[in-house]
Amino acid sequence: MGCTASDLVAALRAAAATIREHRVELIQLDRAIGDGDHGENMDRGFTAVIAALDANPPDTPASALKLVATTLISKVGGAAGPLYGTAFLRASTAVKDRAELTPADLAEALTAALGGVVARGKAEPGDKTMVDALDPAVQAAKGDTVAELLAAAADAAAAGADTTVPLVARKGRASYLGERSAGHMDPGARSTSLLLRAFAEVAAR
């Protein structure tokens, strides 16, 4: 019912596969309003995450999350590297040394992750960033099971990503475009939604 280190590793493998699958889509989204590297950055990062998990299988959820954080920080670069890195780092701290995460623990971890992204990136909802997917996901992250909670979060993230389409970006590279940034989905919001969906699907198995 809960989420162990090995559940988390399974979820991360699924996440890496999803990112690989959507690499070109993320590149194209970023090409439209940014510099076209988001899919490449995320794929490079999650490929390295899997390699790190294989090399040093983590024994607690916290150590799994921390390994993800440090790997993303050291392999991704760009805006996404430190932002996702900080998110996983804060999540790791939040879950302390628990061996199995309850839905409440997971909700707490997601809240901490959002806090990390906001602390680093200073974006508010509506700025057309990954926050527009993560913030509604955190608010929706409720449920009696991990699977329920993650499904709700993933749904909310997907809807949140959709809301970024008409927005004018106020943070990140897309903000240079001004009004021309409207009409395109934010790539970081999309990748957040993809990650949560992958986690939810593994939890639902």
Binding site: D35, G78, G81, P82, R173, Y176
Partner: protein, 330 residues
């Protein structure tokens, strides 16, 4: 995509190998994490000047490593800011006991990654963020202006200040003076193609140009019909002059930069036009730099950068520099 590469994933590493072979007298390349270091680093007692950013802007920054300029450069993936590991390694390798100045172009990714590195650093570190691109409206509600062409004079001048023995606070103060007095704007006739993307970063019709372009293939602020050289130069120069503003009698460095594929033949033509327009306004061009220094792969286009000079900035610009791309003095 037409490129002289093997795999998109090995471009940066392969290029660093060639860079080191070409300029082994000036620099050493650490491959993991990727850092280009002055061959005689650390220089004891000297403030280390460190910069970095995505690859694809060469000769910036690797070609600017050497005496009188950078102690280290951190090359990220193409158009992607480097990671904190690269920056902390650069700091370790160049720390001569006087601390390090981190020169960061104002992009969210660059700022965040350098910030993380600065937090981890074990020596005294100061950061200067350059945001000279007048094409982007500055506002506390956005990511702010980008760092573009002004980075070259910033690196040159802080490098000279460090070389003459200024301490970290003094080097930082000079850096702030450069940032306060430098402004740039760029345009593109064609888009660059990032190796892992495989197609141009944006689509421009045969009769269109992109004005207010960044250096990463980000689309610009406006897409307009192509103009002749007089029109292009005026479009870049006017917003620069108005922004600071630059005034009659000001002494300036004029930096006419090719974004990569614009031939020198055209670049010198544009430079001459810019000089004439500045002379018409009574602005005195004391120094000039013309060439492809801050590029965006094979993008056709140009940028203009104006730095308002005082006697000290002029002296620091003129001070000796010995790098792959900039070399003068003894």
């Amino acid at each position: 995509m037409k490129k002289i590469i093997n795999e998109p994933s090995t471009v940066v590493a392969g290029s660093l190998t060639g860079l080191e072979l070409a300029h082994g007298d000036l620099l050493t390349v650490i491959h993991d994490p990727a850092v280009i270091v002055r061959v005689d680093a650390p220089v004891p007692g000297k403030v280390a000047i460190i910069s970095g950013g995505g690859s694809g802007h060469e000769p910036m920054h690797g070609g600017l490593v050497g005496p009188g300029m950078l102690d280290a450069a951190c090359p990220g993936a193409v158009f992607t800011s480097p990671t904190p590991d690269q920056v902390t390694t650069a700091i370790e390798k160049t720390d001569g006991g006087a601390g390090a100045l981190l020169i960061v172009k104002n992009y969210t990714g660059d700022v965040l990654n350098f910030e993380t590195a600065a937090e981890l650093a074990e020596t005294e570190v100061r950061t200067i963020v350059i945001d000279d691109d007048v094409a982007v409206k500055d506002s506390t509600f956005t990511a702010g202006r980008r760092g573009v062409g002004g980075t070259v004079p910033l690196e040159k001048i802080t490098g000279a200040a460090a070389a003459r023995g200024d301490d970290l606070a003094a080097v930082h103060a000079v850096a702030e003076r450069v940032v306060a007095n430098v402004r740039s704007m760029g345009m593109a006739l064609t888009a660059p193609t990032v190796p892992h993307v495989g197609e141009p970063s944006f689509d421009l019709a045969d009769d269109e140009m992109e004005v207010g372009i960044g250096i990463h293939g980000e689309p610009g602020r406006a897409r307009v019909p192509v103009e002749n050289a007089d029109g292009v130069v005026a479009r870049l120069l006017e917003p620069i002059l108005e922004d600071l503003p630059f005034a009659e009698g000001d002494r300036v460095l004029l930096f006419t930069n090719s974004m990569g594929a614009t031939p020198l033949l055209e670049l010198y033509l544009a430079h001459g036009i810019a000089e004439r327009m500045l002379a018409d306004r009574g602005i005195v061009v004391e120094r000039r730099l013309v060439g492809p220094y801050v590029t965006s792969l094979e993008m056709q286009g140009m940028s203009l950068t104006l730095l308002r000079l005082d006697d000290e900035l002029l002296e620091l610009w003129d001070a000796p520099v010995h790098t792959a791309a900039l070399r003068w003095g003894n």
